[in-house]
């Protein structure tokens, strides 16, 4: 497999100079102070031909024919510009972008695996900016995602519109990707959020709804794609440090330590260039003493990122992320009177882990209408459970993907690709199984006439888990996007998605507190038929509202269940589930320094067979936020609400494993953040103050786990 990858790479590199471009649009993008803007998107209107400006603000777009072209230039934080240019009479554009906090007309790359405007998508989507993550001092991405519209997080398991409940990380129903490369582990299929360096995030794109027609398994509920920052190549050093403390618990019974528990972190990062090679290096150390007993962690996160442009049309990006972590193993509370303490037998248990996630992304625009992209990744994970069970697991997961993007005429774009994976596990929990998967896919976006875009996609996936019989799944999708007017857009989509069982779900063999878990050789993929109808109304960029209705039918949903004949537990295809709902979002940009957002999600998620609610799906979810930014000052308020969860793991309560585990309440969490950027005062220093859960409200997201109590942190960032 490795020699085959090398051959593909050589072929791609060899053809990088084959095509001769006779016509070209080139130029420079700057702000009002004539500073170059790196990473601005330049797209030829009504086509999918485009590029991004480099670290000097320069760009060039090769063309096959002369003519008059309308060019759009956009960048997050700046007002979009449109200009017309006639080739070959004119060929150079000098664009000056004006700053704005209005975030409309953003470009996303996740929904269709190519650059698209947010308003042209046939599915619901949201974007989270890096400013939101850093200003509010979110230490890992899952903490920030709790405030994303339509997204919920139970402990560390993410769900989009109720797609997932909580299964201790095994078998996520949301595909999380890093620059389009899937990020789940090869054994349990879980997301290790800490391996994503928060300081490297440019934005996070969230696609809601089944996306297996492009992304295959795991994208059964949606996709969350982390887009990292473009490297400028300018020499820059970044230092961030923070220190925080948890408040005392609200009740004396819960004050197990008698102290204010602290947490702190330090990030050092440097970026520079050597000739045409741009690079950045960063190291982060995080330490948290934990508001709960035996719930500490120490993390070391490393990141190396390099980029090299072979020419104006071909480039390669290599990255490596590493995570070493020691953490206490807090599973459930002792009881509600000792909610911040584990059972006595669990005190002192730890888990050690070491993970490396590395990859390369190669892009080659062979012509203005043909783009080749190759992605390769290697994910090595090791963890050891330093408890009475002493379980451990080592996993190596390889993934390769080749994709071609072809735009023909001015209104058609075709994407075709193939993805392959190979995984090998060595574990006393799962044995030594291997996994193999391959998934060819194709998608066509066709602009029938100016306001109407039709998108159709199809993917076939074949997956084989070790000795189990291989399974095949077909995932079709059809989507429409129609601009009724400049202000009003409607969209609709329907599709089928699937999720293959993970190695953990198929092969786990262990005993926990008297419960025996055994493998299931007959487990098969679960599937989802999803439908969505949505509408966006944008009133003069001041008031933006989005409404969506969605319906999902899940078949053969995988869940742990007791085998009646033996009393053992295994992961089985047990449920026909139905998840329906509506989501409403409002963004208000009335008075320039203020930005207000409000999102309401109504979920009706139920097990159709047993006529009861699915576990861990609140019926009503609200996120709201208000930000004020002027000069160097920024102040923010954030709020989220869940209605009381209808169902959770009551079996654990009945067996006495989690005393008082059925205790739960609605969730109300309010945070305040404030920051001041001293750059305008001549100091490259940013100070932030964050107070989370300022009401010190006590709640659970998962049975027997009290969520973080009130805490305050002070952060300093230096850039020079």
């Amino acid at each position: 497999m490795r020699s085959g990858i090398f051959i593909i790479f050589l072929i791609l590199a060899a053809v990088s100079n084959l095509s001769a471009q006779n016509y070209i649009i080139e130029g420079r993008v700057t702000d009002k102070s004539n500073n170059p803007l790196s990473g601005a998107n330049i797209i030829i209107f009504n086509t999918n031909t485009g590029t991004a400006s480099n670290e000097e603000g320069l760009f060039s777009i090769p063309l096959e024919q002369p003519g008059t072209y309308e060019v759009e230039i956009s960048m997050i934080g700046f007002k979009k510009e449109k200009v017309k240019i006639t080739i070959p009479t004119e060929r150079r554009l000098n664009i000056v972008l004006e700053e704005t906090i209005i975030q409309s007309d953003q470009v996303v790359v996740t929904a269709g695996k190519h650059e698209q405007r947010l308003e042209d998508l046939p599915v619901s989507a949201a974007i989270m900016s890096s400013e939101f993550i850093t200003e509010k001092n979110f230490l890992s991405l899952d903490n920030a995602l709790r405030y994303a519209p339509g997204v919920s997080v139970n402990l560390d398991q993410v769900s989009i519109r109720g797609s997932s409940g909580y299964s201790r990380g095994a078998g996520t129903r949301v595909l999380v990707a890093y620059n389009g490369i899937p990020l789940y582990t090869g054994d349990t299929g879980e997301i290790i959020w800490e391996i994503v360096p928060v300081n490297a995030i440019e934005r996070v794109e969230i696609i809601k709804g089944a996306s297996s027609s492009l992304y295959g398994s795991t994208a059964i509920g949606g996709v969350i794609n982390v887009i990292t920052k473009e490297m400028t190549g300018d020499p820059q050093t970044y230092v961030k440090t923070y220190y925080g403390v948890y408040d005392k618990p609200a009740y004396e019974e819960w004050d197990w330590s008698g102290q204010y528990r602290s947490f702190n972190g330090l990030t050092l990062s440097h970026s520079n260039r050597i000739g045409k090679l741009r690079f950045s290096l960063s190291g982060t150390r995080l330490e948290n003493n934990g508001y709960r007993m035996n719930d500490f962690y120490k993390r070391f996160i490393g990141n190396i990122n390099t980029a090299y442009n072979f020419s104006s049309t071909s480039s390669i990006n290599l990255f490596l992320n590493s995570l070493n972590m020691d953490r206490g193993n807090f599973v459930y509370w002792k009881d509600s009177r000792h909610a911040l303490q584990p059972p006595d037998a669990d005190i002192g248990q730890k888990v050690r882990s070491a993970r490396i996630f590395s990859g390369l992304i190669y892009n080659n625009a062979l012509s203005s209408s043909f783009l080749l992209q190759f992605k390769s990744s290697y994910y090595n994970t090791y963890w050891r459970d330093e408890t009475s069970s002493e379980n451990s697991s080592t996993v190596n997961l390889f993934r390769e993907e080749l994709q071609a993007t072809v735009s023909s005429m001015d209104n058609m774009l075709l994407i075709a690709g193939i993805e392959g994976t190979y995984g090998k596990v060595s574990s006393d929990l799962f044995g030594d199984p291997e996994s193999f998967g391959v998934g060819p896919y194709v998608q066509a976006d066709y602009r029938l006439f100016s306001p109407l875009l039709i998108s159709a996609g199809l993917r076939f996936d074949y997956s084989k888990l070790d000795t189990l019989e291989g399974t095949g799944s077909v995932s079709p999708k059809l989507g429409l996007n129609y601009h009724l007017s400049d202000d009003l857009i409607i969209r609709s989509s329907a599709g089928k998605a699937f999720r293959a069982p993970t190695l953990a779900e198929a092969f786990t063999r262990t005993g926990v507190s008297g419960i025996t878990i055994v493998p299931n050789p007959d487990i098969k993929p679960e599937s989802n038929y999803s439908y969505e109808l949505g509408m966006t109304y944008n009133y003069k960029e001041l008031f933006i509202t989005d409404l969506a209705l969605f319906h999902n039918e899940y078949y053969d949903m995988i869940d742990p269940a007791v085998i009646p004949e033996t009393g053992q537990v295994s992961f089985r295809n047990v449920t026909h589930a139905r998840i329906q709902g509506t989501e409403i979002s409002v963004t208000y940009n009335a008075f320039a320094p203020f930005n207000i957002r409000l999102n309401y999600l109504y979920l009706w998620a139920r097990d159709v067979n047993n006529n009861k609610s699915l576990k861990y799906r609140p019926r009503n979810l609200v996120t709201a936020g208000a930000d004020y930014r002027t000069g160097g000052l920024s102040v923010g308020l954030d709020f989220r609400f869940w209605s009381r969860i209808d169902e959770l793991d009551t079996e654990l309560v009945e067996l006495g494993l989690v005393p008082d585990g059925d205790k739960r309440v609605p969730v109300y969490v309010a945070d305040i953040s404030a920051g001041y950027n001293l750059l305008k005062a001549g100091l490259p220093l940013n100070i932030t103050l964050n107070a989370k859960n300022i009401l010190n409200y006590n709640y659970i997201e998962v049975i027997g786990n009290l969520s973080p109590i009130r805490n305050i942190s002070l952060g300093l960032e230096l850039v020079f």
Binding site: E565, R664, Y697
Partner: protein, 177 residues
């Protein structure tokens, strides 16, 4: 001097900020709270267990267990369990017990149709039917044709739930073993 648009915007901002204040205030309750201090749990049952004959050498643990329904298959051993007592020491001849004393799985109010003394020989505790043997069964009024049943109400304690274990004449075993 503010324009009418700016005045409208200020009014709208005030409404939104009021909405935020209301949202914040909805969370002014404290949410979860510690449960009450442990009080004597009146709900339960007790009695005497008698052992006749020699204890098998292989037995590693002995408990009193109560099931909500009779066991029909191996899965019921796990699914129907409602109570497991504290461990009974090896070679005991007679022991007075109470469900309130250090139970492995605490009892709750409800009906229990199958109350037994169960023993296992495995190194660690397991909820698999095949790992357990029933050494004695509670019979009501001496009627050994069918297992005795009790109905526990809240704060009710039922006495004289006596069980005899005869190692030389073991009782019929439930299905699934």
């Amino acid at each position: 001097m503010l324009s009418s648009k700016e005045k409208d915007s200020i009014v709208n901002i005030k409404y939104f900020l009021l909405l935020f204040v209301l949202l914040f205030l909805t969370g002014c309750g404290e949410g979860l709270s510690p449960g009450p201090e442990e009080t004597v749990n009146q709900t339960g049952f007790g009695g005497t267990v008698y052992f006749k004959g020699e204890w098998p050498d292989s037995v590693k643990r002995t408990y009193i267990a109560a099931f909500r329904n009779e066991i029909q298959n191996a899965g019921d051993f796990f699914l129907q369990i409602g109570f497991i007592s504290d461990s009974i020491p090896r070679n005991t001849k007679q022991i007075i017990y109470s469900s309130q004393v250090n139970p492995l799985v605490p009892i709750k109010a409800g009906q229990y149709k199958y109350i037994v003394v169960a023993q296992s020989a495995t190194d660690s505790i397991s909820f698999l039917r095949k790992d357990w043997r029933v050494a004695g069964i509670y019979y009501m009024n001496g009627d050994s044709t069918k297992p005795g049943s009790i109905v526990l109400n809240e704060n009710e304690f039922i006495k004289d739930i006596n069980i005899t274990c005869d190692f030389d004449n073991p009782p019929p075993q439930p299905p699934g073993g």
